[in-house]
Symmetry: C2
Subunit: 70 residues, 2 copies
DNA sequence: TCGATATGCAATATATACTTGACATGATGA
DNA sequence: TCATCATGTCAAGTATATATTGCATATCGA
């Protein structure tokens, strides 16, 4: 599963645009867009801010069980 | 609870030094030390690599329930 | 005491996360 | 058609994560 897709789904679930989510977590919309499109490596603090803004946890948005299992 | 303490406990649990954990995840021991001492903002990929190396998840090591609750 | 290991701290250098500003496209509505 | 919104992307700049090197301290064992 692509890296940012869970984030995108959670965002849409909350009826937020990239720009609105970006504002909530204190970054620019480009940063959110880059994370959702993958190939990007956000910082932990930003991941936590995003998770909190969407009522999710780090694992919900950024942990792939297959990563863990092998 | 201080940011890096869970990481430190998990590391000690596995009988790993900062240097050995650093080697496992492909960073220097200073980077591990800085994360454990807090006041540092690692990248998501590094957090995931650390969690995998210690048999934990992102939430186990980097999520504080109080962050989420308020 | 001496040597090895583990950690903390600090200065400099490099890679990259993130910003700012701009332009392009498709969808929506007046 | 025209205006607005949402998203994608590009280019240049700033902030900071991480590397590299070195030194200091504490612990452990010979």
């Amino acid at each position: 599963m692509k890296a940012g897709i869970k984030l995108k789904m959670a965002r849409v679930e909350h009826d937020l645009t990239q720009a609105k989510l970006a504002e909530k977590v204190g970054v620019t919309r480009q940063t959110i867009g880059l994370i959702e499109s993958g190939g990007y490596n956000p910082t932990l603090h930003l991941c936590i801010a995003i998770a909190k803004a969407l009522g999710k946890t780090l694992n919900d948005l950024f942990w792939e069980e297959s990563d863990h299992e092998g």
